[in-house]
């Protein structure tokens, strides 16, 4: 009875969305352009594609949600210093297309720095689209306040038809919690590659803390969207932070940096989802071949929750139904694997691959 009353009250109170926290099933994404566009040559046979979860420019600060610390907010100097680190790595890689997760555009915790615009203005990238994953005028928990975090696709070339496709939320949360909670989605777009044509680029960040099968459902929905484009004859590059391990991962739980005791923040036991990505590997081409990964997991790890613990699990992926240049997939773990240290920059390592622009 109490739950019914709670949900009825939530519906009545939030019918008009007073905290601007809800989304339609399908919405147009938000478009960005660099303040000064940089003239780019048509690509010569391939595109460099990069994927990176940048932890909202929080670098290795121990935030409250990791259970390693209690930080909630950064000041502007901290944010800009951390963003400069991210931009240095991006400039070093010089990607043509960049998929990003956990990027903030209007959040108190990053001193309201619009990180999409900032990266466009401080790298060689010209265009971007953004879709919110967590948006509210004020989140009444842990002093978070105003937040607008999401996924973005940045590109040297123009982007069009960008949409935010909603995915289901965790079903075990009550209505009020879900109102303020993260709202996962697929960010889909078309990059207009000169002298090549349309390239579908899709970005996703699935649930980390779902215990009810929601993450697996989101992973399947993302695959459905890729299948739909594939059946229609489109060529895609897709990826993001799928928050699950590849099939055949040697370690699936008990990671040394997983110290959260709260049931709400258990994200690192993957034993029940060993085959979650099998269909991706069967149907499409990964940036990192599965056989390479299964032969030795560690060179491809992309995540650790604390700076003192080296990368110890792979959560980040790029796939295509076109062609990746064989052997071009790289996990930028440190100076010897990618050319510079990435551990201090985010709790995820970036991955890159070269996409072959074959004639169609």
């Amino acid at each position: 009875m109490r739950v019914v009353l709670t949900q009825a009250l939530a519906t009545a109170l939030w019918g008009c969305d007073p905290f601007n926290a809800t989304f339609d099933e399908v919405e147009d994404a938000q478009y960005y352009e660099a303040q000064e566009l940089i003239a780019t040559e048509p690509p010569r046979g391939e595109l460099v594609v990069m994927d990176w979860n940048i932890k909202f420019g929080g670098a290795r600060i121990d935030f409250w949600f990791d259970c390693h610390g209690d930080r909630v907010l950064m000041d502007e100097d901290e944010v800009l210093e951390n963003m400069e680190g991210l931009a240095t790595k991006i400039r070093q890689v010089d990607p043509d297309v960049l998929l990003m997760q956990e990027i903030d555009i209007d959040s108190k915790r990053v001193a309201y720095v619009d990180q999409v615009q900032w990266l466009l203005d401080n790298t060689e990238l010209n265009y971007a689209v953004f879709a919110s994953q967590w948006r509210a005028h004020h989140v009444p928990t842990d002093g978070i306040g105003r937040v607008n975090m999401g996924n973005a696709i940045l590109s040297k070339y123009p982007i069009r038809d960008a949409q935010r496709i909603a995915m289901p939320q965790i079903s075990t949360n009550d209505a009020l919690t879900n109102y303020f909670y993260l709202k996962r989605h697929i960010l889909t777009s078309i990059v207009e590659v000169p002298e090549y044509g349309d390239l579908h680029v899709l970005n996703v960040h699935t649930d980390a803390f779902a215990q009810d099968g929601t993450k697996e459902l989101q992973i399947d929905l993302f695959k459905d969207e890729l299948d739909r484009i594939d059946r229609a004859g489109g060529i895609f590059v897709a990826g993001g932070d799928l928050n699950t391990l590849p099939p055949g991962s040697a370690q699936q739980n008990g990671f040394p940096d997983s110290i959260c005791e709260s049931e709400d923040f258990q994200a690192d036991d993957f034993r029940a989802e060993e085959d979650a990505l099998s269909a991706y590997y069967e149907d499409y081409t990964p940036a990192i071949p599965l056989e390479d990964y299964q032969a030795d997991n560690s060179p491809y790890f992309t995540h650790s929750t604390q700076g003192g613990t080296f990368w110890n699990r792979k959560l980040d992926y790029l796939f295509t139904n076109g062609t990746f240049v064989p052997g071009s997939g790289l996990t930028h773990q440190n100076a010897s694997s990618g050319g510079m240290e990435t551990m201090p920059l985010s709790d995820h390592a970036p991955i890159t691959v070269r996409f072959a622009l074959e004639e169609r």
Binding site: V72, K108, H138, T141, G145, R146, L176, F180
Partner: protein, 281 residues
């Protein structure tokens, strides 16, 4: 379940903030009974002291010995012909506060009064700085001792049965001790707490009220804030409501309040419904 309860409390607190903030303005949501207007119209300071109920944002004072309390508004007491005392009971135990309104008689057809409000919001801010659900402020930032002082000059003129009031005031909020205070970037709250981050907030207001038909009346106001040197720098609020003066012992009011304000992230427009019930005895 506990977490959900804290979440609800946080949300309700945020939803009530406009009303609480409005109440701190000492009665923009309150009205004056038509009997009081009649008494005013009959003229003179003597008439001011008779038949007056629910005196709000005007320069007029409550009757001597009269108590009034609002659902969200302050508890008022007519201390003397020239002084009225008010405290906000909902906030008093977490943000001790008091307001004194002093009447200065009439000048050229205008009733003149000044108000002086003192608030110690530190306990409330420290209560809101908590980990987990219900945390409006981060728990890792030190909240200093803050004393908010607000002074305002108000004048009121009768225009038939209607009352036009003008106000001009300033708020300062000196801090003592280490401060890592974080702003609450919400409409109605941010302008009223901006002085805690700068040196002063200037406040100007225009307020109008009067009868419509029988016991039904109206109230409308515009209030402007400026907080130079603080992110955002300004806020403009406009409210209007219908009020029902059942008697000198009870009043009900229903309306809306608009806000257009500058914040650290830019400007934002908001509208919220308002409700007030007040009792007098």
């Amino acid at each position: 379940m506990m977490a959900t309860r804290w979440m609800w409390m946080g949300v309700v607190a945020m939803l009530l903030m406009p009303a609480l903030a409005s109440a701190q303005d000492a009665g923009s949501a309150e009205v004056e009974a038509s009997a009081e207007v009649e008494a005013e119209r009959s003229g003179g300071d003597d008439a001011d002291a008779e038949g007056r109920a629910f005196v709000g944002d005007t320069a007029l004072l409550s009757e001597v010995g009269r108590w009034e309390v609002g659902l969200f508004g302050p508890l008022r007491y007519g201390l003397s012909e020239e002084m009225e005392l008010a405290v906000h009971p909902l906030l008093f135990f977490v943000a001790p506060n008091a307001q004194l309104k002093v009447g200065h008689g009439q000048r050229g057809g205008w009733h003149v009064a000044s108000t002086y409000q003192l608030t110690y919001p530190t306990p409330l801010l420290r209560l809101l700085a908590r980990e987990g659900i219900g945390g409006i402020l981060p728990s890792d930032r030190a909240v200093p001792h803050i004393v908010s002082l607000q002074g305002e000059l108000r004048v009121t003129r009768e225009m038939g049965a209607h009352l036009l009031s003008l106000g001009l005031g300033v708020q300062v909020a000196p801090r003592v001790g280490e401060s890592q205070l974080v702003s609450i970037d919400l409409p109605f709250v941010y302008p009223r707490t901006a002085a805690m981050f700068g040196w002063a907030t200037g406040i100007a207001s225009v307020h109008m009220q009067g009868p419509i038909a029988g016991k039904l009346g109206y109230e409308a106001d515009v209030r402007a804030f400026t907080y130079p040197g603080v992110d955002g720098a300004f806020a403009v609020e406009q409210g209007a409501s219908l009020r029902f003066d059942a008697s000198q012992g009870f009043m009900a009011q229903l309306g809306y309040r608009l806000s257009y304000a500058g914040y650290p992230f830019g400007t934002m427009f908001n509208i919220v419904p308002t409700l007030e019930l007040a009792w007098g005895f």
